[in-house]
Symmetry: C2
Subunit: 751 residues, 2 copies
């Protein structure tokens, strides 16, 4: 009986089995091998557990470490998100003014401390705008110019700081990070991408860039930040930190926590992680991710960064019913959302491509400065672009009530008391003025976001997309509302609108529009609906949201196949094997394998090569591993050996084993060869993987691609009637997929 | 160049590629092969699409058929659920009385029609109890006996009818069906399990058995009913109806719709399908399942079977906050729930095992009668067991308000007006009396459910579990409430309870307890929390629900590994390869394969066997397929051929091909053999699968099990250095898993 614990994976020694994963940067991981290592480690612990109490405790700690780790990730993510929310809120207000008594308070907190009972649009005497602070003027041209200049100054200052920090300390901290996290979760190594410097710089940078008033959000980067937290904390638990495949379970949970704190939506976060970013998502991880997401949301809600018991600024509570015919405008919003989303993706990818291949890419800080300047100059005059984007979204999502003083709520209504039902009314001039400003804001934001997403500061895309959609939806909603007001007897509205109540809610349209544009940009589906539904706190609107998300996704997919994240993955050439795309071509494994049929294959024979032969082979080729065959003439496959293991074994043997010289035979069989003339042979059966995954040369590539995806292979060996013909690596598969899709296979980043 | 469309799957002919799946009853399906067939069919359609407008329309129909199919499934499921809800509600009331003016109305509708403004506990003068109807007496001993007898009579009548229907028309309609659906979705064929008779009889049967007042629910069977709908409607779309692997995508969506209508929880339904029942759940199915679940819920809500705008009887709306220290009783409830759940599983499995192996199993109708009689006799005297279980759950979940007249709300409070805040108060004698009755009800229900789940009528387990938990939770909740009332100054309560408001809500405890017991019984996790959260319509209680579900799951798993569905799968010996259990042993593929090393393997050689040889082999053995090797001496693997295809090909050849006799060589190579002395050879390369999945004999079984799960294999071939050693079928894997878990491997049902 053989030693089954070793089972030919070359990982039978204790040090190695718990040793570091040992992948190089920009390499792909071998899921099967990593998971096998983990199972072996687990068996080892179970075996030792019976020996002593200490080992039992260690075993219990090991069994609980997954839960402990996600608990910590949830706690830390919640705290970090709280700090970011508070920081961003304070610095955003700093652009407008200061609280002289206590400069560390933002406007809202400053006004609370002033004990004033009423203050219009959040202003109070305690809080001084820069014009009041500097020249003691609140109104007039001078004050306006002063405020304008201060606004531009702070915006430029914040964004420059962010860009410099990113450039000098953590270049990986830029962008949203979601495309890269998708790639990492699919089994790729990018060293430092989830490191502590990235975490710190990204957290500080996102505060700065949000405060700078750029057209970006902190929701996407929150996913990156949470993943950094997950990665760093995973190192506290060897089970996860030292095993790349297992670590990805923690990272999936962390990504869920990131979305959870970004939107206060724990279920939506888990579904986002499942649907959008994760690759290997075993079901036991689902429960753990949910736990992690929930803890993070709970902590953030306890920190209460916005003082409103919710973890996002634009949380709304809704409960009015919608009318069945409203589905038509909702689907219309979905179609528009799909178009806007696709337009955005195409324009953004075009610009990013231009940046990548032109000189522009060499001056990231200058680009940031330039974009910030234009944004600040354009944004200030329009109150809807000047205000915080989250606040704008909240405003657009909300219903007009008795306390609404924004022009958008300028209806011809008379409120007599708070409990009065809000009745439908004609829009006043303020509404029409607001609509024009909103249209302008939408166009400006769309253009700015195209140029902003991709600059070298942390920047997310959720908030700008939601905002674009909310503006579009609100306008459609007001139009519908006025239609219903003017034609209440029409059969369309007669069922619901005759009582005089406000039967059409423009806020709901804003929400549906927001979902539509976000769906068009990211092509999220279930997770999008669930996130929006958790934001509104009611199950009633699932159908409208779903209708819009579906229309948006269909229209978007018809106009352009990829969502923004997939487009950026393709743009950057990350080696991502999408599990959603089906491989539709009819090629066979024999067509894809390396080497082609007429070239030689680098193999090692099981008992006829000397140490010198092997070393020459190692020097001449750069493969990660070599197949071992019976003999050169009969290339029947015996096993597979990793370059790393082979190097190590030869070096070890030369150092410690007596009699092993360059002329020693390298033997992979258990029986010693008959002729025993030369020096002592080097037996390497222990490090040989006797169970490599093989396919025949007639296997259709769709099956091969499926095996790579589902089993997480790094390579597979191709045989014909038992004879080895070649090797297919993940790189070969990715290149082949690209080639079949008529794209340039050489753009794939890979080592 | 070879014909890649055929790629050796033996499915190159048009008729066969669209032909029926052709699996026999109680066989396992070959996912890879079925999905490959679908991809080929798809390519065929894409190719033809360019030819004419008609083909283009056919292509579009094919592309949309998935959506169309789930839309229909959602619509029909919603309607069927509505009919069942209305029917069960009417017949449940029929046990108590009748509406003489219009016998087709249930009590509530009858009372609506009477225009009375007030009626206590749902009774009104229009509605006559049987005693009023027969002997014109409402109160008194005679009336009580009369009601009692009528109650027993109707219960016996309904349940006998249900049992006879099930026995004579659709034996598969009994039980909850979820274990079988899990097995079917994992790739097993049970003919007729999802057929139209099962659908009809199960729908009628569940109305009858719920109305009979048995301790069972209609929620589990709803999943089975929805799956039947999915299966039947899939036949309208050849893409799904004729491809077992694709059909399972529709069935997953249908299962989601089933849970969605059962609880009015579309998101919970999708997660239930994903987490609990589905096996192969590609992400594109997620979105479609969500759509299906949503449509079903929407239709049911439009039908409005309960007249309260919700699709379940026990929907509640909550919004009061909970206190942090309450987590301790919540976790306590979780622990109790886990214990009760495990106790229930063990007792129920013991009884089902006894039924299976004793004479009892031969008298299903008598057993049903007996259980119904005992249930009816025991249930009637206690008002909490007499009432509909859903109504009891609703009562326990609700808060006591101004209009509550049940003894459980008998607090020493004085309500002066509706808007008054509900203050905490001392429990009156009614509450203590109710608690005793509830304890009694809980014990009775627990015992009855153990004997009920498994009798030969449609019966689900969700409602009894929820009910047990709700009783337990409500009692704990009342205890906590009285504690807070008596010690409001204690530090535990001082933060929240000093204002005199009702800071402890017994209804919330009932909900948490319900989740705990249901979690203990089914071991659901995320889906459980989401279902409960959708039932309450608020995100606020996710943390308590999660804490209880987690405690319950952990305690349950510590006491007994399997949930009730897995236990029933094991009891019935269904061939289910659980994707959640990890295979922990160190055996190798060589230890599991058939035949063992010293026996002969049935193989076919590629060019040296005659038709007669092959026919003898086919007669002597019963394998589903045969490996093809180079020659007897050099058993290098060439491919794999299915018995079915081989039979067909030989029969065809004998009929139509000239010169093929018993002495003809069967040739699997492309080159004709050199010697051409005998009769014309039979070339079968076209039907040979040249790409069988292989593993080496040193492959650890954990990898093999993983491949079976993830790739959905039916068998894999075992090689050593390219030579064929044996075959591992799914049956071998399942038996090995059983053996390793020290269970009897021969209990597995398999053909």
């Amino acid at each position: 009986m053989e030693d089954h614990d070793g089972f030919g994976f070359g990982i039978s020694t204790e040090e190695d089995s718990v040793g570091f994963s040992g992948y190089s940067d920009f390499h792909t991981i071998d899921w099967q091998r990593d998971l096998a290592r983990d199972r072996m480690r687990h068996r080892h612990i179970v075996k030792k557990r019976k020996k002593s109490l200490w080992e039992l405790i260690k075993g219990a700690h090991d069994a609980l470490s997954g839960w402990l780790c996600v608990l910590l990730v949830g706690l830390v993510t919640g705290c970090v998100a709280g700090v970011i929310d508070i920081g961003a809120s304070w610095m955003t207000d700093l652009k407008f003014g200061i609280c002289p008594q206590a400069f560390w308070l933002n406007r809202e907190q400053c006004c609370w401390s002033s004990n004033e009972t009423t203050f219009d649009s959040g202003n109070c005497s305690q809080w001084l705008t820069w014009s009041e602070f500097m020249i003691s003027a609140k109104y007039g041209f001078g004050a306006y110019v002063m405020s304008y200049l201060f606004y531009i100054f702070w915006a430029m200052f914040f964004s420059t700081l962010a860009a410099l920090l990113v450039k000098n300390f953590a270049p990986y901290a830029c962008g949203s990070g979601i495309p890269e996290i998708k790639t990492i979760l699919s089994g790729f190594i990018i060293r430092g991408y989830l490191g502590k410097w990235t975490l710190i710089i990204k957290s500080v940078g996102i505060i700065l860039s949000v405060s700078a008033g750029l057209s970006l959000g902190k929701e996407g980067p929150m996913v990156h930040i949470a993943s950094c937290v997950g990665n760093i904390l995973a190192y506290l638990f060897p089970k996860y930190g030292r095993n790349e495949a297992k670590k990805r379970e923690i990272l999936s949970a962390a990504a869920a926590a990131g979305v959870s704190v970004a939107f206060g939506a724990p279920i939506g976060g888990v579904l986002f992680s499942l649907e959008e970013v994760s690759y290997y998502f075993p079901l036991k991880t689902l429960w753990r991710s949910f736990f992690c997401a929930l803890i993070a949301a709970f902590i953030l809600r306890s920190i209460n960064p916005f003082g409103n018991e919710h973890s996002v600024l634009f949380f709304v509570e809704y409960n009015k019913p919608w009318i069945f015919v409203e589905l038509i405008p909702f689907i219309g919003l979905g179609i528009m959302g799909g178009c806007i989303g696709t337009l955005f993706i195409k324009a953004n990818i075009f610009w990013c491509n231009y940046r990548k291949h032109s000189k522009l890419g060499q001056y990231p800080v200058a680009e940031v400065l330039c974009v910030t300047f234009i944004t600040a100059v354009v944004a200030f005059p329009n109150p809807y672009t000047r205000m915080n984007t989250s606040e704008l979204i909240f405003l657009l999502f909300s219903q007009c009530g008795i306390s609404s003083d924004n022009p958008i709520c300028d209806y011809n209504r008379n409120f007599t008391n708070v409990n009065q039902a809000i009745e439908i009314a004609a829009a006043g001039p303020g509404v029409y003025h607001a609509i024009w400003l909103l249209v302008l804001a939408m166009i400006v934001k769309l253009i700015l976001t195209v140029f902003t997403f991709g600059i070298k500061v942390p920047c997310g895309l959720f908030i700008p997309s939601l905002c674009l959609g909310a503006i579009m939806g609100r306008i459609v909603g007001i139009a519908m509302e006025q239609l219903a007001y003017n034609y209440p007897k029409n059969w369309i509205f007669s069922g619901e609108c005759t009582t005089g109540d406000d039967c059409i809610q423009p806020g709901l349209y804003a929400m549906v529009g927001a979902a539509a544009v976000l769906g068009g940009v990211t092509r999220m589906t279930v997770s999008l609906v669930v996130i929006m539904f958790e934001l509104t706190g009611g199950v009633r609107y699932i159908v409208p949201l779903m209708a819009a998300a579906m229309a948006s996704k269909w229209v978007g997919d018809a106009l352009g196949r990829q969502g923004i994240y997939d487009a950026h993955i393709a743009l950057n050439g990350y080696p991502f094997l999408d599990s959603k795309d089906e491989f539709q071509h009819t090629t066979l494994a024999g067509d894809v394998m390396q080497p082609k049929r007429n070239e030689g294959l680098s193999v090692i024979t099981q008992d006829s090569m000397t140490v010198d032969d092997v070393e020459v082979l190692l020097k001449d080729t750069e493969h990660n591993g070599y197949p071992v065959v019976v003999s050169r003439e009969n290339q029947y496959l015996v096993g597979f050996i990793l370059r790393k293991d082979l190097n190590l074994a030869i070096a070890n043997a030369k150092r410690s084993l007596e009699g092993v010289t360059g002329q020693s035979l390298v033997i992979f069989t258990s029986s010693t060869p008959v002729q025993n003339l030369g020096p002592a042979p080097l037996k390497l059966k222990k490090i040989l993987d006797m169970a490599p995954i093989t396919v025949t040369d007639s296997t259709p590539m769709e099956t091969v691609v499926d095996m790579f995806r589902k089993l997480g292979l790094r390579q597979t060996l191709v045989t014909h009637n038992g004879r080895l013909l070649g090797v297919i690596t993940k790189k070969d598969v990715l290149r082949h997929v690209k080639k079949m899709d008529n794209e340039d296979p050489n753009t794939i980043l890979f080592n």
